[in-house]
């Protein structure tokens, strides 16, 4: 392992894989360890991309090609701060790239936010995507006929769509069986999609917004009058691209449907109401254009999901901007409070720039970070630090290799229902048990 620059990339979502790819394609001879907390790679492609957006998930074929590079090693089931410390990484590698993403949710900070039935998007999306941190949730709040989704971005649209689709159409997704069963039994028939801004401030992309109008048996309505929505958009030149989509949605409100999605603007939750669990939400007006006379409006609901953005988690020894939930950096170099770059520490992806953009945005982002890293190590001798795996083994940790993941992947594909590409293993223990069985047999 000596004689070669060794880089640790922490996190195996899109930004981590693209960082690894950029490193391995550089002229510098180096090796990359891609360290992942879970026994499963791909980050938000597996746990964030909606289960019915299967075409987007085929991006994993690109990550698999990166993983096949002999210069890359996947080290799964290893969390920084648990099995390894940042100091361990500093001792063993010439540079460290943080690509850990933003696993926490922004909070609304309103009363009642912690009532059962109120979810942050990380928990609700994590649950239906089978994320080990959230998959065990036994009460996803699908018991009442009305749900509220807060936020005007694509995550909110994903949640609205999944809550509004029939069980038959959801079967053609990689929703795990228990979650598919929960959606099939869901009593939710009306979803209120709340946004605090005007239509022009909504951060939907056209394709995702259009999908909302294409759901069979679903009527999209604008409780504050479609004409007002369109009028607000006409005057908002920045968002002309979405105008035809809004027009089409407004027209589909005319058709009948057994399920409804109500799109609201200029409102935000003032409080969530309920004693032992959520019963309703009280709204407040946030934009005069859409203010509701007589001012206060309540919606009875049994489920609320707030999709208002994500935050990174602070790591010991790494500067952290608590306001934005990101790691302060200059072009990917992690900087301290004075703006001075810390040696050999880099950041990329959502932890670097916040939770915006689509999968490909992370490729350009990681290219920038890795260009900075390569500039810094130009002419530097390799540290020739020891391999980290013996250290892990001495600590009783057996890392999950990419070959292990490929075994899990085959297992997931083999046991999938006929309409689904895979049936995910939804827990870390489940993955470890499967690998143990596979090893013995």
């Amino acid at each position: 392992m000596s004689g070669v620059i060794a880089i640790a990339v922490v996190g195996s979502g899109p930004s981590g894989f693209y960082a690894a790819e950029a490193l391995l394609r550089s002229d510098r001879k180096l090796r990359v360890d891609l360290i992942e907390r879970l026994p499963f790679p791909y980050g938000l492609v597996r746990y964030g991309v909606a289960p019915d957006h299967l075409k987007l998930k085929s991006v994993t074929a690109v990550f698999d090609r990166v993983a096949a590079d002999p210069g890359l090693r996947f080290i799964g089931g290893v969390e920084i701060g648990r099995e390894l410390s940042l100091d361990d990484l500093r001792a063993h590698y010439d540079a460290v790239v943080l690509a850990c993403g933003t696993p926490a949710s922004r909070r609304l900070d309103v009363p009642g936010e912690d009532l059962p039935g109120v979810f942050a998007s990380s928990a609700f999306v994590g649950w239906y995507n089978g994320h080990p941190d959230h998959a065990s949730c036994s009460d996803a709040g699908l018991v009442a006929d009305t749900a509220v989704v807060v936020g005007h971005g694509n995550v909110a649209l994903d949640v609205c769509r999944l809550l509004s689709k029939s069980a038959e159409s959801l079967a053609a997704s990689d929703l795990p069986e228990p979650m598919l069963a929960a959606f099939a039994e869901s009593r939710v028939r009306t979803v209120h999609l709340l946004g605090r801004g005007t239509p022009g401030r909504a951060r939907f992309t056209a394709k995702e917004l259009r999908e909302l109008g294409e759901l069979p048996g679903v009527r999209v309505r604008f409780p504050q009058a479609a004409s007002r929505v369109l009028a607000a958009l006409e005057t908002d030149g920045d968002h002309a691209a979405l105008l035809p989509t809004w027009r089409a949605l407004a027209a589909c409100g005319e058709r009948a449907g057994e399920r409804e999605i109500h799109v609201w603007f200029g409102v935000a939750p003032e409080r969530f109401i309920g004693d032992t669990r959520l019963r309703g939400v009280r709204l407040r007006a946030t934009d005069r254009l859409f203010a509701q006379p007589p001012g206060v409006h309540e919606i009875d609901c049994g489920l609320a999901v707030s999709c208002i953005g994500y935050r990174g988690l602070a790591m010991a020894g790494v500067p952290f901007d608590a306001g934005t939930g990101t790691v302060p950096n200059a072009g990917g170099r992690v900087v301290d409070s004075c703006g001075v770059a810390l040696p050999s520490l880099y950041v990329t992806g959502w932890l670097k720039r916040g939770p915006t953009g689509v999968i490909g945005t992370n490729r350009a982002d990681s290219l920038e970070t890795i260009a900075a890293l390569l500039e810094d190590i130009a002419g530097r001798e390799p540290k020739s630090g020891d391999d980290v795996v013996p250290l892990l083994e001495a600590r009783g940790v057996r890392p999950v290799t990419f070959a292990d993941w490929q075994r899990i992947d085959r297992h997931e594909r083999d046991r999938a229902r006929a309409t689904a590409p895979r049936e995910k293993v939804c827990s870390i223990d489940g993955a470890r048990e499967f690998l143990g069985r596979a090893e013995r047999s």
Partner: protein
């Protein structure tokens, strides 16, 4: 539905798109690029970064523009993948202005 590179790319070839393409679906000839629809995953990352708005979902194509689907398919099959940003064509800036996109990014 897929994404296609349309007329505006011709004689520009800014190649901003390839830096954000997650799957390397862009193929290039000497004066412009094409998308391989079989590889594109419709993430849409390339659409806003094109300085001359040359990339479109087929859904958004104007009537009469459907030919771009075939053109992209055929030329992508015949040309090499473009993996990294390259210098635009010599006349790219003039062409950008001609197309009405004045503000440099």
């Amino acid at each position: 539905m897929t994404h296609v590179v349309t007329d505006n790319c011709e004689r520009c070839r800014f190649t901003e798109c390839v830096t954000v393409c997650p799957v390397e679906c862009f193929h290039g000839g000497p004066t412009r690029l094409y998308i391989d629809a079989a590889v594109c995953i419709d993430c849409g990352a390339c659409v806003p970064v094109c300085p001359v708005r040359a990339i479109s979902e087929t859904f958004d194509l104007e009537p009469g523009q459907e030919r771009w689907v075939e053109i992209n398919r055929d030329f992508a099959a015949a040309l090499p993948v473009i993996r990294a940003r390259e210098a635009p064509t010599a006349g790219a800036e003039a062409r950008r202005i001609e197309l009405g996109f004045t503000a440099p990014r």
